[in-house]
Symmetry: C2
Subunit: 369 residues, 2 copies
């Protein structure tokens, strides 16, 4: 087992990474109080891992851990699902001394983390991510949220977990499509922050996709290290942290435009990154050859390299609603080189339209001109 | 105008107190960014003060401030009301650079503050309290929340305002019943923290209830000073801050048992404080004469000195659900002397039953024995 620490003063926490650590009672024990523990998970993950986690919690001293099941998929990040979680917690009299365990992928983590952020004005929670996406990205950093019909992650909070327990063994049961979606976030970390990780991916992508434990552990550990450094420097995303959103301005528009759940988040980020790299080239920031390396890696990972057919106007409308749009101006995370992402608020809208038109269906593209 | 500061490092903020300061543009200006401003208020407050606040915001540079109206009364602290606020903010494209202004009493402040806490993972907000209760208590300290059918303030966040603008002139239009309910919180601050404030109240209560500006300003300023000191020492209520909940364990049970809105919060706190003082006497902590001074002041203020007729079992059930119940044990804020409240988790339940039975209807009291 390896441990990466996120250094945030009084809110610092460990990320434990290893194979088979999901039921290690000693990893849970330091974070349980006198109160009730509630495990929030979904009907896909529960049959696979719930009993092992319950067992570990009981050995760690938790009395009768409560299970709360939410729907599988992005639609679970909803107002209604959140309310049902609160009903369950209050019905079981989970108090301010209670602890939530988020067992599942990014959706469960975002929803359970947000529930923990606002339940009785905030209680602690543990992230036990069971997807590659959650292990390399969403379980770390304290971003929690639910979606709104008008935009993804519009209602949420920054609420750091007390610990992250990332068992790469749990990835054995992950559907192929979700594994690839998770790889998109590893690619993101490489292109945004670390050229060496990009080179590693170019050498080891097939080992990662074949779920070789060593490759999985390396990808998770390196991603967590990179993310931990950025989060420690800028917890609430007032600046630097925004570079982790590479591919997200286009990606959120793809997810919203296609209807939440139609595209996996990682798939939308993959296509969004390719579009952001193309925009970086058009803006004169990035070499075309480096954008081509991103595109090639995305395609090799079996991920989409372009967005769905939508009129550029629709893309722009959805992108304007992105949380990163400040004062009515869109902000983009662009690449200066591989391993170096920057936030730019001064991108010429015509360049954005050019990128969108290149991927738009012929009729809409013609109409938009 | 007087200004009290809440010292919380990077989250410090001023509380401005004075007559006629509601439309002082210079008090708003430092807190507005480039983004849109949304004023959240209700149909009772809007005709009285919205235009003045809008005018001040416009003079301070805000372009086309958005108005969002929520229902009047405790029922507005609901899930549905919160969702409608988000719909309005997103519909008007309020971004992460937006600012919320909470114009109204405690309900508006709690709801608007919570909306600000979680909208796009948190945006700044200003409190412009227009009731005595909000000016002396709820607008200061960053506690925000909505209610749940199973308990008051169950879903919420600690989110400090950027500033508080407390115009005692706005209290001229406050209904008599609400003025008295606000006085309950001033009495609370005195009995929990400051014997001198209790003596001042015993001398000046009628001047306060007659809305003499000097008396109002003194009550608001002294209450804010006391609360600011406690909040600065314990922002998230891990210890000392809990003494501000004097009367709230009984009070929340009264509010929930009677149905939200039937009792005003201040009325429930008044009766709850008398019950807490009685419990303090039975526990051997407080002199009976001091409990009698509290009771006398509550009655002089035209406030209820006992709770509604409910079986003791029902009280206990509702009290167990209070957020202060930890590990299944009720916690009470008791008085050791006037101006000195303490939190106690070791109160004998029989003493609590005695206090409840003393105020219970004969049949239920008999049944409970």
């Amino acid at each position: 087992m390896e441990t990466v620490r996120v250094e945030l003063g009084g809110r610092s926490y460990p990320i434990h990474i290893g194979a088979g650590i999901l039921d290690a009672a000693e990893l849970y024990r330091p974070h349980l109080g006198a109160g009730r523990v509630a495990v929030i998970t979904n009907p896909v993950v529960a049959p696979l891992y719930l009993e092992r986690v319950r067992g570990a919690l009981e050995r760690a001293g938790a009395v009768a851990p409560l299970d709360v099941l939410v729907d599988d998929g992005e639609q679970a990040k909803s107002w209604g699902a959140l309310e049902r979680v609160f009903d369950a917690l209050l019905g079981a009299r989970v108090g301010r001394d209670g602890v939530i365990v988020a067992l599942g992928g990014g959706v469960v983590g975002d929803l359970a983390g947000f529930a923990a952020a606002v339940y009785q004005r905030g209680i602690p929670y543990l992230q036990v991510p069971t997807t590659l996406l959650a292990q390399v990205d969403s379980s770390v950093g304290g971003k929690t949220a639910i979606n709104h019909a008008r935009g993804k992650n519009m209602i949420g909070a920054f609420h750091q977990p007390a610990a992250v327990i990332a068992d790469v063994g749990a990835l054995a049961t992950l559907p192929e499509r979700e594994l690839r979606a998770g790889a998109a976030e590893v690619i993101k970390h490489g292109f945004a922050l670390d050229a060496a990780l990009v080179e590693w991916l170019e050498a080891k992508l097939e080992a990662l996709l074949a779920r070789e434990p060593g490759a999985l552990t390396h990808a998770v550990r390196r991603s967590c290290e990179l993310k931990a450094t950025v989060v420690a420097a800028d917890e609430r995303e007032s600046g630097r942290r925004a570079v982790l959103n590479l591919g997200h301005t286009f990606g959120h528009a793809i997810e919203a435009g296609a209807g939440y759940g139609a595209w996996l988040h990682g798939e939308a980020v993959a296509a969004g990154m390719v579009m952001a790299a193309e925009l970086s080239v058009r803006a004169g920031l990035l070499e075309a050859a480096d954008a081509a390396r991103l595109r090639a890696l995305v395609i090799r990972a079996g991920l989409p390299a372009k967005g769905p057919s939508m009129a550029p106007e629709r893309y722009l409308e959805l992108m304007m609603l992105d949380k990163k749009a400040a004062g009515g101006r869109m902000r983009f995370i662009l690449l200066e080189r591989i391993g170096r992402a920057v936030m730019r608020g001064d991108v010429d809208e015509r360049l954005v339209r050019d990128v969108l038109a290149a991927g738009a269906p012929p009729a809409s593209a013609a109409a938009a001109r």
